[in-house]
Symmetry: C2
Subunit: 339 residues, 2 copies
């Protein structure tokens, strides 16, 4: 079984996005937001079947862990109420996708973060999504301000209340920023990759996982720059008198395979222990074209994993075993269906 | 001949650093800065011979392109006058090193940038260092604010005056941030690597090198995350309707080899054309320890280049040929000495 742990609903129906525009405009003018539109099951089916489902079938994956579009979470827009209403709308839409295609999609939620708000609303929405909608994790934005890294590091105790709930519910957080409102930082080419690297280093300098030994973070986009600079990070941990990274971080931190060329996946699988790598493509996402050097989609990461020089057992872990371990609620749900 | 294009004077005499403390304190209290101390040649010799020179000899390099300590450039401290006085003091000290060891060190200057200042003073100092002190390049800080990426991207026309002078003098700029004043960003583990990646993406989204076809940037630390995500960057360039990266950026952008483990250097040399890779160690710098997995210093990057699966001609380019091409004033100076 091939589980893709990183897919966003980047092709949501136009009416959903139009509502967001209306909500933002209403906030700006001080008016009441418009009512959320009626979106039919057929509209959802159309956006999924022509896009994600088509590519999942073509590429030969089985299951996708699916969350709202990351770049439009835009936690810096509006206030807590705006962020919460938008999160609920997005997560409910993901829930409908998972109900229409229960064999293919399981939900991960976005959180109603806001740079000026505490995590009360985020915890409320996390609980709703996991306990009522059957979601199995969340996306946690380490820089809800959107591109200036003004938020306290992930190791600051202001984050601890949500970590307690993540541990209680036994769901991981993918550490994923949203759009950039910084003209110096391109969202998917600079901000995403920088934020992944920054998040890892925040964990490295702290003892966060001593305080939260069961907390699990998935760092997307192949872990940013981390595997490429694994020697630097091992060396910095040593300078900082931290334990070896495998003991200090690798019981809690996992990387996905959203690295869009063969040499990158080869490095990832060579450097990072196989138990810490989860298959993912972030399809349909930042890089949608066909690589002229290979003739295949850049984000068809299964091809790279297939071609990597690893044992079948390692490939099984990357495709399925690790996802079942990192997302225990997914494992339970799959097992309940005899999968 | 082995040329290390990235070394900082991290071991400068204590009196020099003490003066900086005095200068900062004077700025804070509104007093006149203290006079710069007398530092003897012997004091300089001691700090160099026990450190950089010792390791250069042990490791078997020949020449180092040497600049002031990056983490203490701290352009966000004080104002334009503070930054200029500090830059002059640091660059003059580098000049003394190059005069004491002309066979081993050639100078690259820091610039008196300041987040609130234009580039007039930086251009003045660049000219002084190149035209009077024999320096062959500069370090350009893309985020002089120190860790919030609030400065306009490197492609903004506010940078153009210094690009004109860099082209006129035919010297490259290494794009190198300084210390972080952001508690979310560890300097050498997060900010440096993130800034390298961000700088590359700024270049990618622009047509900077169409306007400045002879401008040359060296992106340090192996290019941040760029080689590991080369597929992503190639794909993003394609989405943005830019030319192939080799045509769009690789006549102007170069990466150094400050990547502190074998798999990283293997990826770099596999992915990036050999004409765009310059040997460097950033020794003595961020990672000073010995790798328990190899028994050698993490930053002894020559070992990784020696072990990389590349042709002797490629190794010559990485060690020497590319540095002579990217730093024409170094090449001329070496040739004048019959090297």
């Amino acid at each position: 079984m091939i589980i893709d742990c990183h897919g966003h609903y980047t092709t949501a129906p136009a009416a959903h996005n139009d509502w967001r525009d209306g909500q933002k405009a209403a906030f700006k003018s001080g008016a009441k937001p418009p009512p959320y539109p009626a979106i039919s099951d057929d509209e959802i089916r159309e956006t999924i079947e022509q896009n994600q489902l088509k590519l999942i079938k073509e590429r030969g994956a089985d299951h996708t862990i699916f969350s709202p579009r990351a770049s439009t979470m835009a936690h810096h827009v509006g206030d807590q109420a705006v962020s919460e209403a938008w999160s609920i709308a997005c997560n409910d839409l993901i829930h409908r996708v998972t109900q229409l295609y229960p064999e293919v999609f399981t939900g991960v939620c976005m959180l109603p973060q806001n740079p000026k708000a505490d995590l009360t609303a985020s915890i409320r929405e996390l609980r709703r999504c996991v306990e009522q909608l059957g979601f199995i994790g969340c996306n946690l934005n380490p820089d809800p301000g959107g591109g200036h890294f003004t938020h306290p590091p992930l190791t600051d105790e202001s984050w601890f209340p949500i970590y307690e709930v993540l541990c209680e519910l036994d769901v991981p957080a993918m550490i994923h920023v949203s759009g950039s409102c910084n003209p110096a930082l391109h969202a998917t080419g600079a901000f995403y990759i920088a934020a992944d690297t920054v998040a890892f280093m925040q964990c490295l300098t702290s003892d966060l996982f001593r305080d939260f030994p069961t907390l699990k973070f998935v760092i997307p986009h192949g872990g940013g720059a981390v595997p490429y600079h694994w020697g630097r990070f091992r060396g910095l941990a040593q300078e900082l008198k931290k334990p070896l990274l495998k003991d200090h971080l690798l019981n809690n931190v996992f990387f996905d395979t959203c690295v869009y060329h063969q040499p990158g996946i080869d490095l990832l699988t060579r450097v990072i222990p196989v138990d810490n790598i989860l298959f993912a493509s972030e399809m349909i996402g930042a890089v949608r074209g066909i690589d002229p050097e290979t003739g295949h989609y850049f984000d068809d990461t299964k091809r790279y994993v297939e071609a990597a020089q690893i044992e079948p057992e390692a490939r099984y872990k990357i495709y399925e075993g690790n996802a079942r371990r990192v997302y225990p609620r997914l494992d339970a749900a799959l097992k309940a269906k005899g999968r």
